[in-house]
Symmetry: C2
Subunit: 363 residues, 2 copies
């Protein structure tokens, strides 16, 4: 698996320079065309609108020098075909959760979220100021890609269930949509798991093909109408504490950009990387209330016993992931070390403060 | 207090267009000069290096169209003179914690951090996606200024003390450096408080003029050498859960910018607004270890009894702040409403996950 599978495609794909650039003033940079294929539906609140905002922002910040064309899921290719499309050079970038590509390499899971992993700020610290980006570059480079963080969901809810989950035994035999290593953890506990793009979850839940699903949080989940088939909504899950999203570019395209255009794309990605989870926080409380009051959703939390079972299964999953390849082991070990360093600190800062504030104010 | 105190200065100060812009190509925008006065010392790790990075980034993202000149504290004016300097149009922007200006208007405290307030992500949600920025604009506009978020410390540590604080009585009579409304809370509990810029804290602590101080967190605090005079380092404090920083511009300068240059400055500020606290998370664990192992610092946490006393005093402080003016009341009430909405959600997401993860992994 650790070879440059799409090297040929990557080498052929240089920056897509529009013909009109030839007529541009001498001091202006060549006009660049950037086709973006996304895994989110057109105008989907939260994930989709964030991706569209990023696309428009790149053009705006470059003063029109980088012309982006945004294709929502299905408009150019299907959601799960976006990786190959960009690796092959048929588009210049995808917007996705990189854990969709664990079939290509399990290391991709660490660049979205892994069970018991880092929260958004901890993960960003790893990506930007520890070894995260270098490891991501090494992994993406195997496939002719270069990825940047471009959004995040924040800690995801535990998911939607058509029955209560009180003990680990209640999970056995359940059919659930949950991708990434979180899905593998659920499999260890007897869950029959499947990975589906967002646009296909509702129909499978309503038909009974699946009995449970995780998606994101109240703001994103509200519009999915899962409550029609599953009334129990579980708070914080173990599976996606950060939910980081990727702006995955064709490596040849990226390498052909000027330093200025690289800076513009990076700044736009980093800006949206912060904006998206902050927009979710601003909306999640409102939509959670609507779910409960308008649709009779019942909020539940996993018990310590269930969390402990998740923890044991996660250890097995990480041990197996390490065995895949030296690169998978290197990514896992560096991630786990930064998790312990960063998490030990946020425990005595953000988390300790939040616990005391919530106690004193009665939140 | 609610009048446009510096209206004359603001009206006179348009964009500082450099003479060389006259020779630029027809399609390029006018070259803009942007002088930034900062409240942080030159090259100070964390706060200072973040502000300098932002200054350079604005020039980089604008492809040189916005030429920034960065002046650290004392290089052009003293740290606490930066507000008036920018309001008067003698510089175009300051980088500061806006709670330094509570003497001008107590509403400024809410645009850094207030006791029992919002964590960084919650506060950013309020600023960007709820009513925060509009209220900040209304307040800053009273002084001929326009501010954007441009950095954050993350939840600040409780501070450095030369004795242990086990009960609220231990605070009585203590001389402590703590600015903003957190300082007012401490005053209610019998602490004699003072606000000092960073560059003056060490000398006052070593001389005994003050017996305690808060600053930021391990990464920033390490270089201040407070451990030479105060060995007890308290984890999460009540006073600055977010620690947001401001890029405060002269309003006339801002209004004279092109939409493209406004977008560049906003994106650079938002990018750094995320980068700074993430850089702190990446470093805080490392520097906390150095403080403990190299300098014998002893870590302590405030007891529930002390937190409860902080809580009661905070209620008094907010009631008094509301009485200052209709605008102060409006800012406080909107902040408190968003705090409860956003905090109630993060409680069942980020915080619940972190507590379970830390328990299961033994962090």
């Amino acid at each position: 698996m650790e070879r440059r599978q799409f090297l040929k495609g990557a080498a052929l794909a240089g920056p897509a320079v529009a013909a009109s650039a030839l007529a541009a003033p001498a001091l202006a940079q060549a006009r660049v065309e950037l086709n973006i294929v996304s895994t989110w539906g057109r105008d989907f609140p939260g994930l989709g609108t964030s991706a569209q905002r990023l696309s428009a922002r790149i053009t705006e910040l470059s003063n029109g020098e980088i012309q982006t064309n945004y294709f929502a899921a299905g408009e150019k290719v299907g959601a799960f075909d976006s990786f190959d499309t960009v690796a092959n050079g048929d588009a210049q970038a995808y917007i996705a959760a990189d854990y969709y590509w664990v079939g290509k390499h399990p290391g991709f899971a660490y660049f979205t979220s892994v069970p018991f992993g880092m929260t958004g700020p901890e993960w960003n610290a790893w990506i930007k100021f520890q070894n995260g980006q270098a490891l991501w570059d090494e992994l993406s480079g195997e496939f002719g890609l270069k990825a940047l963080p471009c959004g995040a969901t924040g800690t995801q809810m535990g998911g939607w269930f058509n029955k209560e989950i009180e003990t680990p035994e209640d999970l056995r035999g359940l059919k659930m949509r949950i991708p990434g290593l979180g899905g593998t953890v659920m499999s260890k506990l007897g869950v029959s798991t499947v990975s589906l793009p967002g646009g296909q979850i509702y129909e499978n839940l309503v038909s009974g093909a699946i009995e449970a699903t995780e998606w994101v949080g109240p703001y994103n989940d509200y519009f999915m109408k899962f409550y029609e088939a599953a009334k129990f909504y579980y708070t914080a899950g173990m599976h996606e504490p950060g939910g980081g999203l990727a702006f995955g570019m064709n490596e040849g395209f990226w390498n052909g950009l000027s330093d200025h255009h690289k800076a513009i794309i990076t700044a736009a990605c980093y800006e949206e990387n912060a904006n998206q989870p902050e927009e979710a926080i601003a909306n999640n409380g409102i939509y959670l209330k609507k779910l409960i009051e308008e649709h009779g959703v019942q909020l539940r939390s996993f018990s310590d016993e269930v969390w402990d079972a998740f923890g044991e299964a996660s250890e097995e999953v990480f041990a197996e992931t390490r065995e895949h390849s030296p690169l998978a082991a290197k990514i896992n070990d560096d991630f786990q070390a930064s998790l312990r360093a960063n998490g030990s600190y946020t425990k005595i800062a953000e988390v300790e403060f939040s616990n005391q504030r919530n106690r004193v104010l009665g939140l």
